[in-house]
Amino acid sequence: MDKLDYVGKRVLRKDGPDKVTGRAMYTVDMEFRGMLTGGILRSPHPHARILNIDTSRALKLPGVRAVITAQDTLGVKHGFVETPRYPPDQHPLATDKVRFVGEEVVAVAATDPYVVEEAMDLIDVDYEPLPAVFDAEEAMKPEAPEIHPTHPKVEGPFHNIGGKTASGWGDIEAGFANSDYVRQDRFESHLRTHGYLEPQATVASFEPDGKLNIWTSSQGPFIKRAKLARTLGLPFSTVRVQKAYVGGAFGGKIDLFSHEFCAALLSMKTGRPVKIIVSREEIFSAYRHGQPLIVEVKTGAKKDGTLLAQQFKIINNAGAYRGSGVVVIFLAWGFAMLPYRVANFEYEGYSVFTNNPIRTPQRGHGAPQLRFAVESQLDMIAEELGIDPIEIRMKNARRSGEQLPNGDNVHNCGLRDCIQLIDKHTSLREKYGQGRAAGSSDRMRRGIGIGVSSYFGGSLIYPNSSSVVVKMNDDGSVALLTGAMDIGQGAETILSQIVAEELKVPVDEIQVTAADTETTPVDIGSWISGNAYVSGNATRMAAGEVRKKLIDLASEALEANADDLILKDKRIYVAGSPNRGLTYQKLVSASIQERKGDPIIGEGHWRTMRDEPFHPSLASTKGRWSENYAFDAQTAEVEVDTETGEVRLLRAVTAHDCGFPINPLLVEGQIDGQVSMALGHAFLEEIMMEEGRTLNPNWLDYRMPTIHNMAPSEHIDVITEKYEVGQPYRTKEVGEGYVSAILGAIANAIYDAVGVRLFSTPFSAEKILRGLGKIK
């Protein structure tokens, strides 16, 4: 096996120099001659009929160049999911009704932001307010106001059901009947947001030749092109979505947003470039946040801790349109299925319309909420059965090669190693129970807890697959063309490492052209945890084809067997005779002369589950989901102040099977960032809403972790896969799973410290003091 020079190394980010010098251009930084500023007028009501919109006064204001309403659009709807069962349900601008505070009603383009603001004040919209409902369980009641009709295929007396997922296997009743111990619990999570530092922004420039150029802060250009082209009624060939640097996304910038559509249409109307920057207040109060879930889980176990039966009911508060609400109830099923073997299983999940802003994926997309419930309950079961948290997890954790109930296979699964290694590393079993045993006289009490999670790496949602082109330059350096969007995770760096490894060319001699619908091939996108595996293997194939062409030429020219050739320092030579060799530069010119002008170009394509036609059914879960699953166990050690109820996270450890790290430095960054985000989830962050209005639309009142909240984060790599030049590989995702197990670990650690079991997030001081009996 070749020694690896680039893959698996702590290669510095390719875009690092641009970012530390301020040269990196984000969408907000794009400037064009004659550019107009756009803005959006939003609904002040959570639910209302639009009776009339009068824009005439705004249009007369000097400096205003265009005002658009739904009447200026084609009336084409869009949605996060667009399938026959779940057709698109959002208009880019509201038509007859508004269904949440902040829904987009009118858009304006003017010569500067001050004129835009004045124009907004001159637009008169008459509304007839309608009864509204904000709580998911309230919205399900027959007497609740109807936001949208319940999905025709969902049976039952419920109102406002946008979609349902139902699945199971085994015999759930027999499973409970055969159990020695059964318990049922209900867990709730709260509303949080992504907190990307770069605001959402779009620049649209409609050219006289009919080309619509778009720069937009996103997680991948191809889905944006598809949705813009469809809603604007344009062929794909005239819509070009191009790369700008992206200042964080975390799931919040995936599908089409109204400001993107409006910037495009305003540019088409005016013939001028239009920029819309969404204000932080708008992002907090009107944009798509994550998804609070209600998780009811009933579990049956044998005396030895073997799980026999598990029954779930999930309710998702989806907001005013379907959004990703029908995806999260599917995914929660998957996150329940993955880490542990349960012979009898029944699941139903409901996505419920309410008069709240629309929801979208947020890093982990349901996994933190789901794993918090399961991991908390598992510790309760273990305690009742008198076994420890490690033993009950080892008893049920999946093993390598295991077939999942949906037909997928976990392949090489390091979960059991993760659990055992983290126990050893943290001495969990020795420490566990000592906090509670310490006696109630200590004010500061410490505890330790564990959680487990698993996450998929790539699945079949549009655009499904990745393609990559690798080209040799005349001087022997290399160009990489990829549709992948680097959102800060380091996509361009790891893909460059793969090219570097296959061709033995230094990473800094690889030019990357990325994320441009016109010049780069299609890419799966940076939101389905498939970049390292799907785009990575496409890159490996493309570079591999170049490698093969170079070797063929060298083999012929050097009259040597291809197996005897060594690639090193942009040169190929015969093993044992370093002087018998040719530089890449010479090989490229030889190729052009002798191979009909071929300058040496390679292409690669990768599609996960290549024999599967579609994504599994969101309704029934039938069909393959992924061929790539990462596993992790995480521990939290906390200190609880029993006087104030404040909790400090003293130490977080992540033992993870990510296959193998392509770039350990970037993997550590993903782990640290996720632990921090989970800490915010557990203790600090909450979007507070009243009657559909956001009460804390700013970072003073929505408290994200600061450097004072930095959590000591350690990690243990469990390597289950390997990289070999010229071979397909199966590395796994690292961007979402590690925000997921730690939440349950923190809840379990708080219990271990003070004996207070928390059934809802956030883990506030108030809840802990109430649990301690110190307040009512």
Partner: protein, 168 residues
């Protein structure tokens, strides 16, 4: 339409260059830097002084340019992220951020780098608490701050060719 107050003359020095600009009285320093001078390395994360991304140095001290009226910068010396570039490569602080993996999406990075530079100019060997104090006004959503913290420690240990915080 309300008549806007007229523009006023602003004289200031940005990255060692002297400028005379006509600005509106309500314009912030951030707007002047980005819109008049094209210095887009300074970012706006919130516009209300909560996130620290718009940090620049005024007379060597970090300030929030989104909360600073441009007209309050008369005759002041301003340094932005672009001002660290002397054509000699990355500075000690920039290099440390890169080496330690303290950069992900990069949107908070210019503010973080300038705040760190100011901190180390003032206090070349800060304690852990002093590092936290120096960066407490800066939000980063990607890194969890661990590697930023390590980058500041590396920069405090490091020295440029000239023994200061200049280019490595």
């Amino acid at each position: 339409m309300e008549k806007r107050p007229g523009k006023q003359l602003l004289e200031l020095t940005v990255n060692d260059e002297f400028y005379e600009l006509a600005v509106e009285p309500q314009e912030t320093l951030l707007e002047v830097l980005r819109n008049h001078l094209g210095l887009t390395g300074t970012k706006e994360g919130c516009g209300t002084g909560e996130c620290g991304t718009c940090t620049v140095l005024m007379e060597g001290e970090p300030i929030l340019s989104c909360l600073t009226l441009a007209m309050d910068c008369r005759q002041k010396k301003i340094q932005t992220i672009e001002g660290l570039d002397r054509g000699e490569g990355l500075t000690v602080v920039q290099d440390a951020f890169l080496q330690q993996g303290a950069v992900q999406c990069g949107f908070c990075t210019p503010g973080m780098v300038l705040a760190t530079t100011a901190l180390l100019e003032e206090n070349p060997h800060p304690s852990q608490e002093e590092i936290k104090k120096g960066l407490e006004g800066h939000l980063c959503r990607c890194t969890g701050y661990n590697k930023i913290f390590e980058a500041v420690e590396q920069a405090a240990r490091g020295k440029s060719r000239d023994g200061d915080l200049g280019s490595v």
